[in-house]
């Protein structure tokens, strides 16, 4: 049947055709959109794959960087600790023990050993010479034998580096390798460090690090051995210093005795005078005793005959021996004797103080008393032709010093002053004060000294006195004593007018 198309129907068809075209167009747009979406998705997926690959590669790179930095950190930690131990003040054995522990951990060994050989033979030392992380330091004789058998202990020379030896299965007790090095100790001894590991292989990459640690250790050992040598040398030096101190004390004492020798004649004279008059007095006393005995005998005889003693007769007897004079003179003689003996006692006492070696301990002392004592010792030198004007009193400040030694200094100065004033002169002693110091001036009116003599005054054995008169040590010894007392010495001198010694003492507060 033929279908007729009505106008209304044809419009409808046209509309449908338009709709179909639009739909087709729409479909085409969507298809292109879908194609773009698909392409974009593929691109995104490829990009994600690239990102994944990049992330994987970065991850791998980070892992290897982390492993590298961990390894470096271990190396630095090992070297840092080893170096700190070497540079520390630890004793030698402790430092080496420290190195054993650190190296054992660093090279992942199971045991570390420290042994010492002399002429290729192990020295019997501490029994606990094997270290492990679990057990600490212990004796491991069986393992020690294994180590000894695999080390070239008989070799007397120091090895140039670390060495590692693979251990054979038969006697290795499951240990895979032994790492070792040695170093020189004192007295031809050689120290050995050895490390046993159960691992089959050894990482030779750690050799450079071990070499650095070995250099540090050697440096630490050398330093300690040098320290020991220095310590010994110090002891020797201290002995020498002690000997010198002792010699100095002996020298001071010798010089003091030499000064005493120079004074001996005068001192003997000082002692001899009182001794002479005491003896003379005693002779007189002897006569007086005889007179007393005679008087007593006469009294006894009179009493035996008459059984009484007549006063007139007694008076006559007394007058006969001049008893009144004897009484008076005896008292005078006794007083004179006591005074004479006191003089002897004082002189001997001062000499005793002077000759006393002393312990050189500084105590608070009076300079005026010290000068007084020195003047008494040298009194005979100034007795006849010289005047002494000692202005020092107790007002002179107290100083810290050794009385005997300073007395020696003043005696020396006074003897020298007297020698410079042969034929007479005046010795003056006074003090001034200046900013916590007290200055004692000793001035003579003697011959004076030229610049050259002044410059050599304190040089040992320099003397202007004839041979046999001076030792040449007096002023040099005095100078040593004064230096020990922190005393500054200056000398003012003028030829033909005299010399002044100025001794500046720190005041004792």
């Amino acid at each position: 049947m033929k279908k007729t198309i009505e106008p209304q129907t044809s419009e409808l068809i046209l509309t449908e055709i338009k709709t179909v075209e639009e739909l087709q167009k729409r479909i085409a747009v969507l298809e292109r959109k879908a194609a773009r979406e698909k392409k974009a998705r593929n691109m995104a997926e490829k990009q994600l794959e690239r990102y994944s690959l990049e992330i994987y590669q970065i991850n791998q790179s980070l892992k290897s960087a982390l492993a590298f930095s961990t390894k470096k950190q271990c190396e630095l930690e090992y070297l840092g600790k080893a170096s700190m131990g070497d540079a520390s003040e630890l004793p030698l054995n402790q430092m080496i023990g420290n190195m054993v522990e650190l190296t054992c951990e660093y090279c992942a060994a199971d045991y570390g050993f420290y042994l010492v050989t002399e002429d290729g033979v192990p020295v019997e030392g501490t029994p606990d010479n094997a270290w492990s992380k679990e057990l600490g330091w212990q004796g491991q004789s069986e393992l020690q034998n294994l180590v000894n058998a695999n080390l070239p202990l008989s070799q007397a020379d120091v090895l140039e580096s670390w060495f590692v030896s693979a251990l054979s299965d038969d006697d290795a007790q499951h240990f895979g390798w032994v790492l070792y090095m040695n170093f020189a100790l004192s007295d031809s001894k050689i120290g050995w460090l050895a490390f046993l590991s159960k691992k089959a292989s050894f990482d030779e990459g750690i050799f450079p690090i071990l070499a650095t640690a070995r250099d540090d250790l050697n440096s630490g050992i050398r330093r300690r051995l040098t320290d020991i040598r220095i310590l010994k040398r110090n002891v020797q030096l201290q002995d020498s210093v002690n000997n010198l101190e002792s010699a100095k004390r002996q020298l001071i004492q010798s010089e003091k005795m030499a000064s005493l020798g120079q004074l001996a004649a005068g001192v003997a004279h000082e002692i001899n005078n009182p001794v002479a008059f005491v003896r003379s007095n005693m002779e007189v006393f002897k006569g007086y005793i005889h007179d007393y005995k005679s008087l007593l005998d006469n009294i006894k005889s009179e009493l035996a005959t008459h059984n009484k003693l007549d006063m007139t007769f007694f008076t006559a007897l007394c007058e006969k021996v001049d008893l009144t004079y004897i009484d008076e003179d005896s008292t005078a003689l006794l007083t004179s004797n006591i005074e004479g003996l006191d003089r002897v006692r004082d002189i001997v006492g001062n000499l005793k103080n002077f000759s006393n070696a002393g312990d050189a301990k500084l105590t608070q002392m009076s300079l005026s008393k010290c000068v007084d004592a020195a003047l008494r010792i040298t009194g005979n030198v100034y007795k006849y032709e010289h005047q002494v004007d000692n202005q020092l009193t107790d007002l002179c400040p107290v100083v810290l010093g050794d009385l005997g030694q300073l007395q020696q200094v003043f005696v020396n100065l006074f003897i020298n002053a007297a020698y410079a004033m042969q034929g007479g002169g005046k010795l003056s002693i006074w003090h001034t004060e200046d900013d916590q110091r007290v200055i004692v001036h000793v001035k003579d009116t003697g011959s004076g000294m030229d610049e050259e003599t002044i410059s050599q005054l304190f040089i040992p054995f320099f003397t202007t006195k004839p041979v046999g008169v001076g030792t040449g040590l007096g002023l040099s010894v005095s100078y040593v004593i004064l230096e020990a007392h922190n005393v500054q010495v200056t000398v003012d001198s003028e030829i033909g007018f005299g010399t002044t010694f100025n001794l500046s003492f720190p005041v004792s507060l």
Partner: protein
Amino acid sequence: MKGVVFVKFNEFIEELWGEEFWDELLDEAKLPSEGAYTTVVTYDDQELFILIGLVADKQNISLKDVLFTFGKWVFKEFYNIAPAGAHDFKDVFEFLYAVQDFIHVDVKKINPDALVPEFKFLSATDNKLSFHYLSPRKLCFFCEGILHGLAVHMGQEIKVSQPECEHEGGQRCVFEVEKI
């Protein structure tokens, strides 16, 4: 330019003028990428400029208006995919200060090769902020649109002017943003 800009431009065009118009643009543009855009890929800047030029021609509007309108529209899109910290700001100025010190830093973390504009702040008062916009792409009109999108999002009214603009013969692009 990052693919996210192209993807968002696609969505923007389709939302305004439909998929057919977008299809038509691509058909005429004959772009190397053929319009297959995905956010994880970087595309040639020139493709965007060609597409914007075609839109202006076909819709008989200026390039400035296309860029401004796209910028204003795209703000909320970028805001939604921005790092969480970017959502803490409640003020246009605060957000602008944070853009390069915070948001662009995070963008760089995810896309190290992303080329982001730089703001150099010239002056600021409570209500007025002036900054120098630096970008080799010179998309200052797009930036102006974004500023308005930002203000809409923050619920603030602003007036934006460009006293200096490279497209108007200036040596640089300077924005003045004033809260109304």
